[in-house]
Symmetry: C2
Subunit: 189 residues, 2 copies
DNA sequence: ATGATTTTGTGACATTTGTCAAATGAAATC
DNA sequence: GATTTCATTTGACAAATGTCACAAAATCAT
């Protein structure tokens, strides 16, 4: 088994160990992708059969509101990229674009999903991913409701310092819901 | 089986039908509660073994930031009340309080959770709840990132008109992240 | 390397929102 | 039903943020 696949599978099977057979079955629906900066993984309003796991690189998600890009998140190493909209076979609400040359694992949702019903280990594996994702969402909401933008900026700086080295401030300002000028002034202090 | 339990169970087992035996097993960890206005279901920073499903009534969630209540959501009929923090046995980040005399189903998480590993139907049942919850969270984030507060107000008014009849505007303003005065002025138009 | 493009920073001003204070309206309690 | 409490509205002003314009700095592509 590819060492990168192993990283991914182990990452989500700490609570519920998988047999080698199940691991192999999961692997058969994974691929490794090496993609260039600015590559579009998922397009807004389109259905998409894959989710991704970032081995190396950075991804941003955004959607268009009145013609303006609203950035919604940035994924770095060991983060999942995708949404439950994809998993539920709904069109994506966001575009996801690489910010750097990246190495990703792609997960074929269309193929893996039906296995949930025949292999209970796979069911638990997928649940672990969904629970982690939902915890991440709860966190994101909690964070975003701390209204004061100075606080938001400082918390983001504490939690995800790498973002500020790897993601343009314009995108971060957009994510924080403030103009780039305001962010620039906050940083001046 | 109590008709109210049936409502709840059917609500989350449309994709994956349950045998009568499993339904009975789930029921044995459910109770019906009739509680008064202002009753506190869950306290901020405390662990809690239960989640709830609203049969009739209204619940608000809030946390304290610098001594001020920040309202995070309002649950009405057929909504779940709880968080993954509870499910994961972490302390709750929010207080949940009844806004009306309410009838709720309580779900004993501590008892039901281990059954996920012995009964695959229960695993799928719980997953259905978590997926619905995660979709709800995705929606909430998407909504909250539409920054303009007039838009937020109008979308909330379209989607959840009942809230404005049943929840004080002070709480709604707090949820929207604006002062009650600003909300009042938005409404004047 | 160098010119072009993108990103970031700064100033001036308009707009929005928050804050404080007070008045009105509605609802709960006795 | 009267009284108290709570919720909502309105006005005046201060503070924060957005917008526009432009300059400086960094990055990219040839």
């Amino acid at each position: 088994m590819d060492i990168l696949f192993k990283t991914f599978i182990d990452y989500f099977s700490t609570n519920y160990p998988l047999t080698d057979h199940t691991k192999a079955e999961i692997c058969s629906h994974l691929s490794i992708l090496n993609l260039d900066k600015k590559h579009i993984l998922v397009k807004e309003n389109q259905r998409h059969d894959f989710a991704y796991f970032v081995i190396k690189g950075a991804v941003r998600s955004y959607y268009l509101k009145d013609g303006i890009e609203v950035n919604t998140w940035f994924a770095l190493e060991n983060d999942m990229v995708g949404s439950l909209q994809n998993f539920q076979d709904n069109p994506s609400r966001e575009t996801m674009e690489l910010l750097e040359i990246s190495t990703l694992i792609s997960i074929n949702l269309k193929q893996i999903k039906p296995l949930m019903f025949s292999n209970i280990q796979i069911a638990h594996f997928i649940n672990a991913i969904i629970i982690e994702y939902a915890l991440f969402l709860e966190d994101k909401i909690f964070f975003s409701q701390m209204m004061n933008s100075i606080d938001k900026y400082q918390i983001l700086l504490e939690r995800e310092p790498q973002l500020f080295q790897r993601v343009p401030l314009t995108y971060i300002a957009s994510f924080l819901g403030i103009s780039r000028e305001t962010l620039s002034r906050l940083r001046a202090k």
